[in-house]
């Protein structure tokens, strides 16, 4: 094994000092001066309606109001993968809370008062909230113009319907596979919507200065993508990319919710109407729930066939995703999770159809896990039931069918090196799989659940990233990248990569947060790909600097470059053991030679990375032939729970999760992702419970009624386990792990509940109420699903 000095070490987080002193600046902490204006949004009270008229005259008369802006001012569409979203509603509104107009005023209270004076006349249309209903022939069509919307080539929208994308995957012959099966299980699972619940709500401040430059400060995962979409959507106003600047200070949580573009475009657009004045748009907590992205709900029909010995022969699945009325990002959740919906299994015959469907609930899109958590609930519940039905141990069933390196995945590409079997073994050992435990309390039952998972980064095939590194006079470093520190530890890991190559200690490295004017390009911080991709770019930049350093030494001392190496911030030479030159002595000012002249230069490095083996050119009828994913990260989770048979309350006695990081550059950061991500997942299955009224209005957009975990809700014990089967093209073998940690949470609970009390719950969340009612009514299966309350 190669010995590393900085890689694989749990160095302290680079940003922790700023964060524990309150020095860390988030967007709302930046002072914008006395010219700062505030925007208040006029929102649709209807889930689906035509806009007949908007009267802004009363609002405009109010003192302190600077401007009232409506959809007429910005008749432009935008979107990441498909242009189906509007800066402000145009002729119609499609969900309750949609932005129809905005008041810009000198202070927030005036803006709020004036917003109430804007009169909008609507003609209500029939709404549709259920994705299955929305597929019916006679369903109201939410986007009559869908067939004309620009989109990426791997989407297949169906004009005249609510289908914004259909992913179709066919491998082998599913029909034959089911004929070969000795046992077939078919069922339906349902997962509702969820909210990211970042502590910091969305906020963006836009400024069009008097010279015509547009700057947006945003709480975002995606500074470059935002700049690109602003430039694209506002192109009619004559912006070039170079004239738009996105600055991304610290972000108070992302989880996918601050990926792509949502409300930030409102700040960008409003700024163009009030030259010289920064305009702040900041979501309140309720707006954070309904007007960014939610996680999509999905109805999954699944059928799996196996031989008596447990070999899976066929897998058939249909997913009906509720994307809300704008699917510009959500359709790619459907696409990516559809391609990988089998989970990490080797299955010869596969048929998957995933439908992305417009509804009149709020817009839904990316959320940590990107559809894999939802697929995992149905698939991993189903696999457990099958193993139990054929009398096979669940862990053994997964070992037998688990995908191995080189096995073709459902779309035909070969599986990458991975530690799936090791992960299964480790969590099984840790949870004492197979050992039945009894509660001492007769009213309580103990159960165990197990699940495996995988996830690939969902990205366009040609995403690219880059890095600059520069030395300072004292030999310290500034690294400029445009990945985002969302809390996952990105800055720290980038510093560790550079430190390993340049031997500069972590304490002497700063990694700068994105600013599109000076930090180089990075697509966006999503897909858990930044350790891998940005890590490669930083490594290349550092290697370039090392080459330049050796070049300078060669020029000054004529030592053979191949004999030089770096150690402890010094250049040393294998052939001249007495030679050592500290980096700080020459990396800026060079080396003086005998004749008084200098050799050298200010040492800077640049590096970039793009995967060159990926392709989205697959057959639309089968999804075969392309190579849409760079690689998968795999893992396994297990849990031991105690169910109170009277109240239905679940106590988690122990949770275990193993994830294959390839190489954990910072093991503690990996463990912290596991602990945090697993709890976020456990909350979705245990108590986060989003409700809408019969008009599609969210009823619990706050932390009183939408329960996220507190200190008192954590498992009694969490054991994070790191598996390391190197990723050949990763920096030092690393691959991403952050989203993945949440994926096994729902099925391990569902499986443990069944193990404990013999009740199979096929709908999320698995609340105490559901369990108590099932026990009281002696039900063995629970299909109850309540997200939209009836009158």
């Amino acid at each position: 094994m190669e010995e590393f000095k900085f890689i694989g070490k749990s160095v302290k987080r680079l940003d922790e000092r700023e964060k524990v002193t309150g020095a860390a600046k988030y967007v709302d902490d930046i002072e914008f001066g006395p010219n700062l204006l505030y925007a208040e949004i006029i929102e649709s009270p209807h889930p689906h309606a035509l806009i007949k008229s908007i009267d802004t005259s009363e609002a405009e008369k109010m003192e302190g109001v600077v401007k009232v802006v409506t959809g007429k001012d910005f008749p432009y569409k935008f979107g990441l993968y498909m242009k189906d979203r509007y800066i402000f509603a145009q002729d119609r509104v499609r969900f309750i809370g949609e932005q129809v107009a905005a008041v810009i005023a000198r202070d927030p209270r005036t803006a709020q008062k004036a917003a109430k004076l804007v009169k909008v006349e609507y003609e209500p249309l029939q709404p549709v909230f259920d994705p299955i209903e929305a597929l019916k022939e006679d369903a109201v069509v939410i986007h009559p113009d869908l067939k004309n919307y620009p989109h990426v080539p791997w989407f297949f929208p169906k004009g005249g319907t609510n289908i914004t994308h259909r992913l179709k995957l066919r491998k082998g012959n599913a029909e034959k596979g089911f004929k070969d099966a000795d046992f077939i299980l078919e069922d339906t699972y349902r997962v509702p919507r969820y909210a990211h619940c970042c502590l910091e709500t969305h906020i963006a401040v836009g400024l069009l200065d008097y010279s015509g430059r547009l700057t947006v400060w945003a709480s975002t995962q995606s500074p470059y993508t935002q700049r690109n979409l602003f430039a694209d959507a506002l192109a009619p106003l004559g912006f070039s990319h170079k004239d738009i600047r996105v600055i991304a200070p610290f972000v108070g949580g992302g989880f996918g919710g601050k990926a792509g573009v949502t409300m930030e475009i409102v700040a960008a657009a409003l700024a163009t109407t009030v030259k010289g004045h920064p305009v702040k748009v900041m979501w309140r907590r309720d707006q954070e729930f309904y007007n960014t992205y939610m996680r999509q709900q999905v109805v999954t029909k699944i059928k799996v066939g196996v031989k008596k010995d447990g070999t899976i022969t066929a897998f058939e699945m249909a997913n009906y995703w509720d994307a809300g009325p704008y699917a510009e990002y959500g359709a790619n959740v459907v696409n990516a999770s559809g391609l990988s919906a089998t989970g990490p299994y080797r299955i010869p015959n596969v048929s998957i159809d995933s439908y992305c469907i417009y509804t009149n609930l709020p817009a839904a899109g990316p959320y940590r896990g990107f559809g894999y958590s939802e697929m995992s609930f149905s698939v991993e519940s189903h696999m457990t039931r099958i193993a139990n039905a054929i009398g096979m141990d669940q862990a053994e069933f997964r070992r037998k069918n688990g995908i191995k390196e080189g096995d073709p995945v459902a779309y035909g590409a070969p599986m990458n090196p991975n530690g799936l079997l090791e992960a299964i073994d480790k969590v099984a050992d840790e949870i004492e799989w197979g050992k039945k435990e009894e509660s001492k309390d007769p009213n309580k039952a103990i159960g165990k659940g197990l699940s495996i998972f995988w996830k690939a980064p969902a990205m366009p095939p040609n995403v690219t990233t880059s890095a600059f590194i520069k030395f300072n006079e004292d030999g310290s470093l500034n690294i400029l990248v445009s990945g985002m520190e969302l809390g996952q530890g990105y800055l720290t890991v980038m510093a560790q990569v550079a430190a390993e190559i340049l031997t500069v200690p972590i304490e002497k490295i700063r990694v700068e947060l994105p600013d599109t004017d000076r930090n180089p390009y990075h697509w966006q911080t999503v897909a858990s790909h930044v350790t891998w991709a940005s890590g490669n770019a930083v490594k290349r930049a550092a290697l370039e600097m090392r080459d330049k350093i050796f070049e300078v030494i060669h020029a000054a001392y004529h030592y053979d470059k191949d004999s030089l190496y770096l150690e402890d911030e010094k250049v040393k030479c294998k052939l001249h053991p007495s030679f050592e030159l500290p980096l700080k002595d020459f990396v800026i000012n060079g080396i003086q030679t005998e004749d008084g002249t200098y050799r050298g230069e200010a040492i800077v490095g640049s590096g970039a990375f793009m995967p060159e083996f990926t392709s989205a050119k697959q057959d639309p009828e089968t999804s075969q032939g392309g190579h849409p994913n760079v690689h998968y990260t795999v893992g396994a989770g297990a849990v031991k729970i105690e169910v109170d048979k009277q109240t239905g309350k679940i106590r988690i006695l122990k949770a275990v999760e193993a994830v294959d990081a390839g190489k954990a550059i910072n093991p503690r950061n990996v463990e912290h992702q596991i602990i945090g991500g697993l709890l976020q997942g456990l909350a979705t299955v245990l108590y986060e419970d989003m409700r809408f009224d019969e008009n599609g209005k969210i009823l619990n957009p706050n932390f009183t009624d939408y329960k996220i975990p507190t200190f008192l809700d954590i498992p009694d014990e969490v054991v994070p386990i790191i598996v390391e089967v190197p990723q050949p093209d990763g920096p030092f073998g690393a691959r991403g792990i952050a989203e993945h940690t949440m994926i096994p949470a729902a099925p391990i609970i569902a499986n443990a509940v069944e193990d404990a009390i013999g009740v199979r719950v096929k709908t999320m969340p698995i609340t105490a109420e559901k369990i108590a009612m099932a026990i009281a009514n002696n039900k063995k299966e629970v299909n109850d699903f309540l997200m939209i309350m009836k009158k």
Binding site: T21, C197, L199, G253, I675, F703
Partner: protein, 156 residues
């Protein structure tokens, strides 16, 4: 507008406030205390926690006018000189991820340790249960609080 006076981080400060101005807004916008975070607006999450006369309160549900004549400590006040052992412990444990909950969490934990310098794990959980964090799963925060060097728990 009414003039109020109070001790902020050891210094007497004045502010002119409307009767319905929230304390969080006055501290952030008029007095530059940007460590205080506004996140839920209804006392659910604890991101805006400050110490009022040594007691942790949610500054988003307190009117500024109510603090006239009282004493306020924010994270700025705690960080003025040397970091407290609690802050050092958070750094040592890499406790925070996005960091948005950190200021409120640190104020609540400071109050907890002032009252109870040797809390049990259960007491830490109970004492901090009004502060939400979406990133960490709480364990790294608990570990840091339990691991504070007891010698100089903030005496301010």
């Amino acid at each position: 507008m009414k003039k109020i006076s109070f001790i902020l981080n050891g210094e007497k400060r004045n502010a002119y406030v409307e009767p319905n101005d929230l304390l969080v807004d006055v501290l952030r916008e008029k007095l530059g205390m940007h460590s205080i975070k506004y996140a839920c607006g209804r006392g659910d999450c604890g991101a805006c926690t400050i110490l009022l006369n040594g007691k942790g309160v949610r500054s988003c549900i307190i009117l500024a006018i109510e603090v006239d004549g009282q004493e306020i400590l924010t994270l700025e006040g705690l960080s003025e000189n040397k970091l407290t052992s609690l802050q050092e412990s958070f750094i040592d444990h890499s406790s925070f991820q996005c960091g948005f909950c950190a200021p409120g969490m640190i104020m609540s934990a400071t109050e907890l340790l002032n009252k109870n310098p040797n809390p049990t794990e259960e007491e830490v959980k109970e004492g901090l249960s009004g502060n939400l964090c979406r990133c960490t799963g709480y364990t790294p925060i608990i570990e840091a609080v339990l691991d504070v060097e007891k010698k100089d728990v903030d005496k301010k």
